[in-house]
Subunit: 393 residues, 2 copies
Amino acid sequence: MKRRNLCALIAILVLGGTGLAQLNFASGIAVEDFKPASTNQPGREYPMVNSEGRVRASISAPEAQRVQLDISAVKYDLVKDTSGVWTGDSDPQDEGFHYYQFWIDGAAVPDPNSLYFYGAGRWGSGIDVPAKDQDFYALKNVPHGQIREQLYFSKHTNGMRRCFVYTPPDYDKDLTKRYPVLYLQHGGGEDETGWPNQGKTNLIMDNLIAEGKARPFIIVMDNGTWRWPENVPRPRRGERPRGSWPPKGWADGFMKTLLEDIIPMIDANYRTLADQEHRAMAGLSMGGMQTRVIALANPDVFSYVGIFSGGSISMEDVNNAPGFKEKIKLVFISYGSRELERSRRFGGDPKENTEALNEAGMKTHFYVSPNTAHEWQSWRRGLHEFAQLLFQD
Amino acid sequence: MKRRNLCALIAILVLGGTGLAQLNFASGIAVEDFKPASTNQPGREYPMVNSEGRVRASISAPEAQRVQLDISAVKYDLVKDTSGVWTGDSDPQDEGFHYYQFWIDGAAVPDPNSLYFYGAGRWGSGIDVPAKDQDFYALKNVPHGQIREQLYFSKHTNGMRRCFVYTPPDYDKDLTKRYPVLYLQHGGGEDETGWPNQGKTNLIMDNLIAEGKARPFIIVMDNGTWRWPENVPRPRRGERPRGSWPPKGWADGFMKTLLEDIIPMIDANYRTLADQEHRAMAGLSMGGMQTRVIALANPDVFSYVGIFSGGSISMEDVNNAPGFKEKIKLVFISYGSRELERSRRFGGDPKENTEALNEAGMKTHFYVSPNTAHEWQSWRRGLHEFAQLLFQD
């Protein structure tokens, strides 16, 4: 502990004279109870996490001049030892999953020690900071469902597509049984691997089902990445988009794919209960915004709606969506506590909006994930809460 | 083309004076028909491959002193342009899949532009050099099977394990039908993700089945990584192991897991034809060596045996394995043409061994993958050949 701080001090003094930009180290003194992260590649010691949620990363780069750990939008300088290995800590991170990367002499690269996850528009490093409630997504010796990679042809996009399908533990036991379906969408810069990988969808469901807390259902995780609508002028590079953001019609492409390709394909290939009563849609961030648009436009298709960190549904929305108030069985809205303040700026206060729906006679549920931001721990908890309310009527 | 060679020359002259080690550039002049590799992350231009099989890699590293592309055991120096982007070519590579990485000022890191694959004991970059016969593993609009992630408890290792299971396209159509099973193992430093990812197992099978060239069967891909047997003294670090290599009993651990955990779990959870006649085992490299040991010891369990780049079965083996000659329906041995010479040094010439079995009345098949080495293109082709011969009796 003392030795590390001394190294950092020497590094500041030495590098300070070389004309490099100011160095940035974690504040405070780290508690020395670091353990290898659960998201490390097999057998790798680093990166480590301590009880404060600090990340300690390490990489050998003998000839490098500057190596930084880049996590939660802060770059921390690492310090080189005599063998050319750079090591350093971050400030304490929130519980849960975070994307991160290294900067090595100006190159942004993944940490060769971590597993890789798709997010922020790239496959790159991720790290799980142990959470107090991590038991709900722990791998346990309970009956397990499957995550299936499903390839299919899409008429709408005229090409092959891929989704992942969670089937519950008993799916292959009783071959006469049919199941409700949740269509569950990722966020912007993520893809269909988000929920099965960093989202821990299968483990969350397997544990809930083993405890009798959720009804077994199928979950379909597809790719909702959208393209700029052809009939809307595209802003030039560097120009701020005019009018509403996202552009009008932005969710139409995925809506068509979902309604015309994905749902019919799932109903044809899985033992689904293929009606509105047994179909739900949910998503996080961009996927929540898609859920909002698609569910409001299709109350005959879905009966349960979940929006995690992706806005809310107002009475104005409901009044402009014929059938929504009567047919929707649950509107579930959730946020991380640390992003709640910011969320009020987009489409009104999500809690007030949700309470207004409730007062108008709709069944709603508003959930706030404690001490988390716009990150996967909020969405794991969101799914965990939402799943227990689904298909119970 | 000219400009690039000039850059390289200037780099040699400039860096030559700075005391850096000698630079290493690709030989000859590259044909300028480079295209983004199929193994790139979505939307990434680099790395590229040209018609000669040269790889052109690129990364921004403005403050780096030396950046190298490390592929097929050769490190190629990249050249920096005025914006800090380093770019450079490799020599022509064999068709098919290769692991690679960058060296940035002494740090070995994945290329942030590529997809990642598990091999050589790590998740890292991989690149597919288009092969003349790539059509057999192309993604086409044919009926597709599924790759299922299967979690299960192992009594033998007293913990949770994971395998991937390929189910053929018609598996969920006729729920009364039962299928034969192939247990298919990866190589050393790889894991259960090797065959479904870089192996293209599902696409190879889907295409074969669509053409009527293979009988639909289930494929189980598990993790065969072995531990040093407890009753065999372990060589010290840096010491050459004494006696036979691998150590006697090395395959016993996975054999137990396979026979006592995996096969019973698969037969309990999938609609298998659960007898010797409808069970095959195959593997590549280390997985082929495991297949050899396990099949010789268990002719009552498996009837088809495939060894890809992992040795062969001699008449001596057969004579020491009671029941093997009578019960085994096919011994399939394959190699890449570029590794065949070396293969003769281990356990005899594989072709001669296989011919001897044939002369003794066993059904055999010997296959050589043209112009490939100890790499995935040899094994994709091995599976493609082997699958057409399976469960045909």
